[in-house]
């Protein structure tokens, strides 16, 4: 082979390699675009992450409220709320008073400018038990009122007992260093005591007694009306969609917008084979009682809805979506590759169109009948909704293929919800069960996609609610 021949051969060889490799094409899997999209549009991911944290946090708080009852009930409230007719032993009440005094630090001024601490010290120097004095607990004690434990007084009287009935008996003067048990303390009548004590002490007693009365009354808390309810719920649902679109047989002028694909005339719903599927929703809400029968509610809810598409698998082929063009000069179609056909193909395939949504139901709930444990309620909500995924299938405008085109999905939507339910109160919780219906008011797709899809759900809502105290 001559040099020239060799060079010619080399050039031809390189040309052959270049030409053949340039002809070669490969179709990447969906995850590649997903990865690119997620990298480029991080704001959306952050939003989803933020909302997820919010929902999880809300559900955790709701769960905690429902499962763990409130523990912080003031001891004093237990007494003051008791009805007048309730009989209580004086020893019980005084012991409770003592515990309350121990918990509530009494060494604080009653009013500005008054040094209450000194008065209390005077009081306790006379009547307090030695161990209390050592521990500097400035409180009255069961030790200085020695009454038979079987003697009973009403709660109301008991509250004023120290002020009004104190003349019964008072403890004897106690040696401050004495370690004698309480039972061994001798008592004397108050008349004797008055004789023995100076006039100043009596005045000090009255001051303290009046102060105690006042203090006790201050602890009386009015019964609160609890207006807030917390609710969590879950609903198994059956999901489907309402599909509408341009009927090209009637609107022939739009044919010009379908430059490539074959057109099937007729309504889109007649050319697809879809079936309903089961989904679910769960969430939580806070209710505020506006009136006795009407409540306002607001919350967060996660929805998973889907339906089945019966289609066919095929080799990769072009899929064209013709877009509604409002201005005339913008691009009017999107072309991609798909391996899913609507009418015929290599093998039958059942696809699922899944929608993950986050919504914030806001609405009203009304009690229809029932007053006590069993009630019948109805509720209606409007739900601003954010679509978390946009990888569902779209029908091409020639009805021939299904393809994925995330840019044609509407991110924000509005749903309407209606429900009726029976509720039953048991153990501080209210259980509810009833049918619900949810309808997506705007199309799943943006306006430039010629077909419209409105999702709908029928479900059974199971919920638990609890009054927030």
């Amino acid at each position: 082979m001559t040099m020239m021949e060799r060079k010619f051969y080399n050039d031809e060889f390189e040309e052959l390699i270049r030409q053949k490799t340039d002809q070669y094409k490969m179709y990447p899997s969906d995850k590649v675009w997903k990865g690119i999209y997620n990298s480029l549009h991080t704001k959306r991911r952050r939003f989803i992450a933020g909302m997820s944290v919010l929902v999880i946090g809300f559900l955790m708080i709701a769960g905690k409220e429902l499962l763990m009852p409130a523990k912080h009930v003031a001891i004093i409230n237990k007494k003051t709320i008791a009805p007048n007719t309730q009989k209580t032993t004086t020893a019980d009440i005084i012991t409770e008073d003592f515990q309350a005094f121990k918990k509530e630090n009494l060494i604080q001024p009653l009013s500005p400018g008054t040094d209450n601490k000194q008065d209390i010290n005077q009081f306790t120097s006379i009547y307090a038990l030695p161990d209390q004095q050592e521990n500097k607990i400035p409180a009255p004690s069961a030790g200085y009122i020695n009454l038979p434990t079987n003697e009973t007084v009403s709660s109301e009287n008991a509250k004023h007992f120290i002020g009004n009935n104190f003349t019964e008996k008072l403890p004897a003067e106690i040696n401050a260093t004495s370690k004698e048990p309480l039972s061994n303390i001798n008592t004397i009548s108050i008349s004797d005591l008055r004789k023995e004590n100076t006039k100043n002490y009596n005045e000090a007693d009255k001051k303290q007694i009046n102060w105690l009365k006042e203090y006790a009354l201050q602890q009386l808390t009015p019964v609160k009306k609890h207006k807030f309810n917390l609710q969590v719920y879950v609903s198994p649902t059956v999901n489907y969609r309402k599909l509408t679109g341009v009927d090209y047989s009637r609107v022939k002028s739009t044919i010009q917008n379908v430059p490539i694909a074959l057109i099937h005339f007729g309504n889109v719903k007649d050319f697809v084979d879809h079936t309903p599927a089961v989904g679910y929703e769960f969430g939580g809400s806070i209710q505020y009682k506006l009136t006795r029968n009407l409540s306002f509610k607001a919350g967060l809810q996660f929805n998973y809805s889907r339906y089945i598409i019966k289609a066919f698998s095929a080799n990769p082929e072009l899929a064209t979506i013709t877009l509604n063009s409002y201005y005339g000069y913008l691009a009017d179609s999107i072309t991609g590759y798909t391996n899913v056909r609507n009418f015929s193909g290599k093998s039958r395939e059942n696809l699922q169109n899944r929608y993950f949504q986050l919504s914030a139901p806001i609405g009203l709930e009304m009690r229809i009948i029932g007053n006590g444990k069993l009630q019948l309620n109805v509720a209606g909500t409007i739900q601003p909704t954010y679509l978390l995924n946009r990888n569902s299938y779209l029908l091409t405008t020639d009805y021939l293929n299904y393809t994925k085109e995330p840019s044609l999905f509407r991110k924000w939507n509005i749903n309407g919800g209606l429900e009726a339910f029976l509720s039953y109160e048991i153990g501080g919780l209210r259980l509810q069960l009833g049918p619900q219906f949810r309808y997506q008011l705007l199309s799943t797709y943006v306006n430039k996609y010629p077909f419209k899809e409105n999702l709908m759900e029928y479900g059974i809502k199971i919920g638990i609610s609890k009054t927030i105290r």
Binding site: Y24, M26, Y37, L40, I334, S407
Partner: protein, 191 residues
């Protein structure tokens, strides 16, 4: 969508335009990646990384050359960087060892198609394959290849010569090509 509309949309970070650009060029670019990569998964990783760079750097594209060529250059550089990063390029077979490399007979199909040529290229040791890809197919000069791969220009030349020889041998063994003396007529029939 016109190329200009796609470009404008991508400049505004519009997902629809980005998707359109991706749909249009990803099949060809994945084939490019596949010639450099160890397997399809690696090729898809390279493609993803490359397209992210394309979208992030799209504002640097000046309408002086072909858009596809610009994208292709970014993809090729991404592949090379990826090979360097994963040290696969450094593991390339030594020239002397490579000349005695056994070719797996069953790995080469018998009908001449683009895929067969690509498969034959992928049989080559990665060092040979990279230089061959860059010089014969992507059109880089030996100097550019030397800069990209951090090797001597002479090394690039010798690697290419041997790579081409090896590929030719493979193609001849598989009856895709005939020996040089019988040469061009067959090659013409292949096309």
């Amino acid at each position: 969508m016109t190329e200009d509309a796609i470009l404008q949309g991508c400049l505004k970070n519009q997902a629809a335009a980005q998707r359109e650009l991706y749909n249009r060029y990803s099949p060809k670019m994945l084939a490019v990646c596949y010639r450099f990569a160890h397997n399809r998964e690696d090729a898809e990783d390279m493609l993803q990384e490359g397209f992210i760079k394309v979208f992030l750097q799209i504002h640097t594209f000046q309408n002086k050359g072909a858009f596809e060529g610009w994208i292709r250059r970014i993809i090729v550089h991404t592949c090379i960087n990826n090979l360097k990063k994963n040290k696969r390029f450094n593991e390339s077979v030594d020239i002397l060892q490579a000349s005695s490399l056994q070719i797996r007979e069953e790995s080469v199909p018998s009908i001449v198609q683009a895929k067969q040529i690509v498969d034959c290229i992928r049989i080559l040791p990665i060092g040979y394959r990279t230089v061959l890809n860059l010089y014969a197919i992507e059109g880089y000069s030996h100097k550019e290849i030397a800069d990209m791969l951090d090797i001597e220009e002479s090394t690039s030349r010798s690697q290419y010569t041997r790579a081409k020889q090896m590929l030719e041998d493979i193609l001849i063994r598989k009856n895709i090509l005939q020996k040089p003396k019988e040469k061009i007529e067959l090659m013409a029939s292949i096309r």
